[in-house]
């Protein structure tokens, strides 16, 4: 249970019974296309709006995860989900379809790991037998809400990131085969005064570093325990800053063991500026690619630190800086 100041160590590590990742057309051309369970060739996915398309992906990821584990939705005790759309409508509307008792969460792009940590806590504490956690994001819906219309010709700077269109879901159970969730560290909000919404990697890097420091301090490990330490969506700029900042703080992680979901998901030649971002970035890469590697035995111990920028369209118009957060979850095969 509670270890140190802000970490949980699970006594009977809950198992990831199944996980699923759904992606959009841009992700289908990305570097991890093979690790997606379902890929759409159109941004609208046969729906009449980007928001409905996002909800569809979230529902598909959930039903795919249930199908892979051979479970019915009636067996699931709780559904934990979050997304980036105002009032987390994608999650709540998907919960309406699923009709599983629902806890809506919001931690921006770190919702994936907040959901996974809470689902594991529910299962480990005996509050649930089966918990389903999922997150989603949609490039068009996010651009529309946070920035400009998708077809508007505004030049983006090299520090900007590309919101991943996709959804990821994981089914967590008390016992069963699959990777085990061993520990989680809940991050605190860190604000370094960055206010440029086109530079989220720089804004979020200190939050990732803060959570990583807390994780290793609370658990008494050093980074060599993990085969891979993965940040959520820092992108090229933020990931480099986090790497250097960790060295400065005396916590060196070897460069070959320290990667970022936002850099893994797309190919070098895809025009995504500094890399991928969004709730679905860490969710699809973790629940698809990384969990597949755990299941294949290529990785033994994995630490995912999902990062989130807790800004709103209103807060940055009012010239507020961007508060950021990061949550870490340790998964072992």
């Amino acid at each position: 249970m509670l270890q140190g100041h802000q970490s949980w160590v699970f006594k009977t590590p809950p198992a990831v019974l199944s996980s699923a990742a759904v992606g959009g057309p841009f992700e289908a051309r990305g570097a991890l296309a093979e690790d997606f369970d379902l890929l759409h060739d159109d941004l609208y996915m046969g729906e009449s709006s980007f928001e409905k398309a996002e909800r569809k992906m979230l529902e598909e990821a959930c039903s795919k995860a249930l199908e892979k584990a051979g479970r019915k939705k009636e067996e699931v005790n709780f559904f934990l989900s979050g997304d980036l759309i105002n009032q987390i409508i994608s999650s709540s509307f998907a919960a309406r379809t699923l009709s599983i008792p629902y806890l809506g969460i919001f931690a921006a792009c770190s919702s994936s790991m907040e959901g996974l940590a809470l689902a594991s806590l529910l299962v480990d504490s005996g509050a649930a037998q089966l918990a389903l956690t999922a997150t989603s994001s949609h490039n068009g819906a996010v651009e529309k809400q946070f920035r400009y219309p998708t077809e508007y010709g505004a030049q983006k700077p090299p520090t900007a990131q590309w919101t991943v269109t996709g959804a990821g879901a994981a089914l967590i159970g008390r016992e069963g085969a699959g990777p085990k969730i061993t520990a989680a560290t809940i991050g605190r909000v860190v604000d370094m005064g960055i206010s440029d919404p086109y530079n989220l990697g720089t804004a979020m890097a200190p939050a990732a570093v803060d959570t990583l420091q807390a994780h290793f301090r609370d658990l008494g490990f050093d980074p060599s325990r993990y085969d891979l330490i993965v940040t959520g969506d820092l992108g090229r700029v933020g990931h480099q800053i986090a790497y250097d900042l960790l060295i400065k703080k005396g916590l060196e992680i070897p460069a070959d063991k320290f990667v970022d979901c936002g850099l893994l998901i797309y190919r070098e030649e895809q025009p995504v500026m500094a890399g991928g971002s969004g709730c679905a970035c860490s969710a699809t890469v973790t629940y698809g690619h990384l969990f597949n590697r755990l299941r294949r035995g290529e990785l033994q111990r994995l630490l995912v630190v999902a990062t989130g920028a807790l800004l709103s369209p209103l807060s940055y118009q009012q010239k507020e800086s961007i508060p950021c957060i990061a949550h870490a979850v340790a998964i072992e095969s």
Partner: protein, 159 residues
């Protein structure tokens, strides 16, 4: 960032921002300027071509040809926006695609397409001028101020 804002930062925030600034790629200013010059120039040359076309083959003079020329450029920009091409040209060409009339057409068309899902009144009607609105508001206001000054100078100076 403005000086006033920098003052409000704590020493830790200032230290981090200096640390991060060394690792952030800068906007390629010179390349952007050259590209904007090139793309903006090409767009204007196309416009010039239309003007020549309307004065040569139709009954327009250089002044009256302005309207059909602008209309043609707007139609092309709106079509390219709808086909999802204009934003890619803009990412490459930067300011070159914003300044001409085509940039204005793009702001209206892109917002209208984006908000079609909220219906014609609240969606298209309410959001079409989301980006172009401030330009019109302050453009009209600036015209009013300049107009007033012009009238004042003319009446006072022309006595």
């Amino acid at each position: 960032m403005s000086k006033g804002k920098k003052k409000k930062l704590t020493p830790v925030q200032r230290e981090y921002q200096a640390f991060a600034a060394q690792r952030e790629p800068r906007r390629p200013l010179l390349t952007n300027c050259l590209r904007a010059f090139l793309v903006g120039g090409i767009i204007c040359t196309i416009g010039q071509g239309f003007q020549w076309f309307y004065t040569t083959y139709f009954n327009f003079d250089r002044v009256t040809a302005g309207s059909p020329t602008a209309a043609s450029m707007i139609i092309i920009a709106v079509l390219l926006t709808g086909l999802g091409v204009y934003d890619h040209i803009a990412q490459w060409g930067g300011g070159g695609t914003i300044v001409p009339v085509t940039g204005f057409a793009n702001t209206l068309a892109s917002a209208a397409i984006e908000h079609r899902s909220e219906g014609f009144v609240l969606g298209v009607g309410g959001n079409m001028f989301k980006i172009a609105g401030p330009v019109i508001t302050f453009g009209v206001f600036a015209a009013f101020v300049i107009g007033t000054i012009t009238v004042l100078i003319k009446t006072v100076g022309g006595m």
